[in-house]
Amino acid sequence: MSDITDLSFSELKKALQEKSLSSTEITLAFLERIESLNPELNTFITVTRDEAMRSAKNADTAISRGTATAYTGLPIAHKDLFCTDGVLTTCGSKILSNFVAPYDAHVVSRCKAAGLVSLGKLNMDEFAMGSSNENSYFGPVRNPWDTDRVPGGSSGGSAAAVAAKLTPLATGTDTGGSIRQPAAFTGTSGIKPTYGRVSRFGMIAYASSLDQGGLIAHTAEDLAHGLGLIAGHDSRDSTSAERSVPDYTEVLNGSLKGKVIGLPKQFFDDRLNNSMRDAMDMVLEVFKSLGASVVEISLDHVAEAIPAYYVIAPAEASSNLSRFDGVRFGYRADKPTNLLDLYERSRGEGFGSEVKRRILIGTYALSEGYYDAYYKKAQQIRRLIRDDFNHALASCDLIFGPTTPSTAFVIGEKISDPVSMYLEDIYTVATNMAGLPGGSFQAPMISGLPTGYQLTGPAFGESIILNAAHQIQMATDWHRLNPENF
């Protein structure tokens, strides 16, 4: 039998059920691997070793007494923007570097209730702003496939930790691609559910109308298990959907015969490089071999998604981040001389430069005299994009495209060029603007680096996405490849 940490979430579940492994054994194996490899990869900000061992012990007791759920004792780790009661919750920022959350996020409490064992809190771009994980106060996360490269962001810690097998399942959040892009860069599977599918309660907000919690794991099947745990209505989030949650694992084995895969012509124009196009073609061949057909579709306004996103998200962020003022929690400047000095220095010293840039952009976009030209206009574009998607999804089951324009780039390569960094999300942002579910799954490697393909489905169509990805994974082994040194 292979090492415990080589097992996927679903495989570990099976091992626990068959009692071939205990939760304590599993937990210890992952904790030891974290201890040995995290210094190099920097994926965890906080490792909750003692708490994890305690939960594992409790899980084993529950399993032996027959009071366990189907998931009791399985490991998970949380992106460090999910509030965890009594545990440091930093959001990757200096301004929250001392913040111990007084409550559990909805997602965290759902995982706890199911008996999952939390290994700790994962590194991320500060306030989820970034596509490379270089914007963390706690230092960049390294990509296990090539430690000189970024793992993507903002859920870079989540993706890299799964890729390096430091945890079989990780929560993430996706505002413009923050689950899917790092999943693509690290050879993992990631799902961003429909806006409203997963409660945002306890998720530290970046852009409230776009933020959505989701998961990263090795396989679509793992995601199906995890999503069933965290999805569902929560009365504490007014934007949470009052809609029942299907059993995502039940439909995984459905046939793709007769399914229609839509290819937006805007994603496959001459800007797409040849190696990425080849990788995508190979995935499409598998879809066809499984009985799906491919049609060309058009998303007419998708080119406007990035500029509109970079108005709406910073605008909401500029307001969401106002509460970090040094008054009630978090970092406070030393010896403030007056109120203004307290604000200016606490925020000036507490926020990193990308966060400041977006606060400035957002503040400007909402200012009197500019609101109509920027914010209102961006919202109009957003409606057009949503209409495009809904129109396209009337003629196909899923929309297919590359997750990213290229493979993972080298640390430092784009950090001083925000616009080229923003264009990393060119294929993912529109899905958030439309509020639709999207997943990124392993495609063929390019020059030894992972790539990902993206599936976007109709609202609350997560099971359609997971079914398709699972069928591809059953027919291929792209998702089984492991980084050489990890």
Binding site: L81, F82, C83, T89, C91, L96, F99, A101, P102, Y103, A105, R200, F201, G202, M203, I204, A205, A207, S208, S209, S235, R236, D237, S238, T239, A315, E316, S318, S319, L321, S322, R323, F324, D325, V327, R328, F329, L339, Y343, T363, L366, S367, E368, Y371, Y375
Partner: protein, 479 residues
């Protein structure tokens, strides 16, 4: 001559049991920060959840002022930094308020009525409080009030004097009390008022530059603040100066307004729809549910009181202005069956006592039943107006029930003619000089002189003699 143009923004704290976006209690007076939940503290990751009760109250107010209830309303964020504003923004309604245009009727000093248009009323959350006088060199923050629902009621600039503004404010106060959507307690800040004031030459169509006097917290101060501000602006214009558009504060000690720090005015609030809250859709059936729950409003009650109790228009206006006072009056009138007498007593002795002791009717020591008993004893001639007053005062000091007081103080009216005659005889024999003068006087002067003897008889009888009987007996014995 100048004409003042005034518009009011009235903030009414709604009396929901819990806050507008969290489950914390809204009760006044708790230890600082004991009624502030994670949501009220603006903790990272928390989200607002609207309290349906606040919508119901806002809709009731809208219906009471005959306003349009908007089918769709939207919560916006009003962004500014202040230590007692935990999130760095206030959730309010900007472009789409829940209550659209409506109107109220005010009664002017000359008895005429005037319709004042209400532009809108919207829901928002209150901020916390900064406490500057407890910690040396530092400011304390109490977030108990943060998140308390407010209804901000904005009038059109159709008021033209401080008196009109107060009359309008009193009508709003009366309506929210009748609807029982706020305690309307201005001293505790449950109702606060921003006054927008400008002046212009009489007959001019153009509006002058306005100033806004923030957070005035009593009817009296509203009147004084506006008057002061009108005079200040007129003086500036008379001197050839220009009024500066600014926010001012009223200082009741100095009876003057002065500008707030200029930074406060430079605010660009960067309103935008709160992405944490979905648009609110109000359907007709919900509006109808609210309409059914509407209580009788001041105007309807006034008409009813005039018809049922036979009291005057003026008396009814005074009585219905305060819902609690109106209820008290109605109880007294119903129990005693004496509408007019009840109105006289409530508007006379009761109101005088409330004003003097600075009490609300709810705190008044004489219950409606006690006052009704008292009126009964007046009606059955046990008491005359003088002894009734004595009993009323004894009721205020809590000396017991009406009949006990009458008995203990021996206040039963002397109606026995024989007994009164005996006192009259005494008075006549003790005042022979005055009797001689009386008898020598012409009849038209006599009626005036009779008062002296009446007074003497009342004094001797300790006020107990029936005044009509005294008059009659005196008149016959003196001729």
């Amino acid at each position: 001559m100048y004409e003042a143009v005034i518009g009011l923004e009235v903030h009414v704290q709604l009396s929901t049991a819990s806050k507008i976006f969290s489950g914390s209690s809204t009760a006044f007076g708790a230890e600082p920060n004991t009624q502030a939940s994670l949501i009220d503290l603006g903790m990272p990751g928390v989200l607002p959840v609207p309290n349906a009760k606040a919508f119901e109250m806002a809709i009731k107010f809208g219906l009471a002022i005959d306003a349009k209830i908007e089918q769709e309303s939207i919560f916006d964020r009003k962004n500014y930094f202040y230590p007692d504003l935990p999130k760095g923004y206030q959730i309010s309604q900007f472009e789409k308020p829940i209550v659209g245009p409506g109107r109220v009727t005010i009664t002017l000093d000359d008895g005429n009525t005037k319709t004042i248009n209400v532009t809108r009323a919207h829901l928002e959350e209150d901020a916390g409080k900064s406490i500057h006088d407890v910690f040396d060199g530092m400011t304390g923050i109490d977030l108990n009030r943060a998140g308390t629902p407010l209804l901000e009621i904005v009038s059109e600039p159709e008021l033209h004097s401080a008196r009109e503004a107060v009359a309008y404010l009193k009508v709003i106060h009366s309506i929210v009390r009748y609807l029982d959507i706020s305690d309307g307690n201005m001293a505790e800040g449950s109702m606060r008022c921003d006054c927008n004031v400008s002046v212009r030459p009489e007959g001019s169509e153009l509006l002058g530059t306005r100033t806004e006097i923030k957070n005035v917290n009593s009817f009296r101060f509203v009147e004084k603040a506006i008057d002061t501000e009108i005079h200040r602006q007129i003086e500036i214009l008379e001197d050839g100066g220009r009024v500066v558009q600014e926010t001012r504060l009223y200082d009741p000690d100095k009876d003057e307004t002065r500008p707030m720090r200029s930074k406060e005015e430079a605010n660009d609030y960067r309103y935008f729809p709160d992405p944490d809250l979905l648009p609110v859709f109000i359907d007709d059936s919900f509006i109808e549910t609210c309409r059914i729950k509407l209580p009788e409003l001041p105007d309807a009650r006034k008409a009813r009181y005039i018809a049922e109790y036979g009291i005057t228009d003026y008396d009814a206006s005074v009585l219905v202005a305060d819902r609690d006072l109106a209820d008290y009056f109605a109880e007294v009138a119903n129990m005693s069956g004496e509408g007019k007498l009840a109105a006289n007593w409530v508007m006379g002795s009761v109101l005088a006592e409330l004003n003097q002791a600075n009490l609300a009717i709810a705190e008044f020591p004489v219950s409606s039943r006690q006052l009704s008993d008292l009126l009964g004893r007046i009606k059955d001639d046990t008491l005359n107006s003088k002894t009734a007053k004595t009993v009323f005062e004894a009721l205020i000091t809590g000396d017991g029930e009406v009949d006990t007081i009458i008995e203990e103080q021996g206040l039963v009216q002397m109606t026995d003619t024989g007994a009164i005659e005996a006192v009259v005889d005494e008075v006549i024999s003790e005042n022979s000089h005055e009797v001689a003068n009386y008898r020598a006087a012409s009849s038209d002067k006599r009626s005036k002189m009779l008062g002296f003897f009446v007074g003497q008889v009342m004094k001797k009888s300790q006020g107990k003699a029936n005044p009509q009987a005294v008059n009659q007996i005196l008149a016959s014995k003196l001729t």
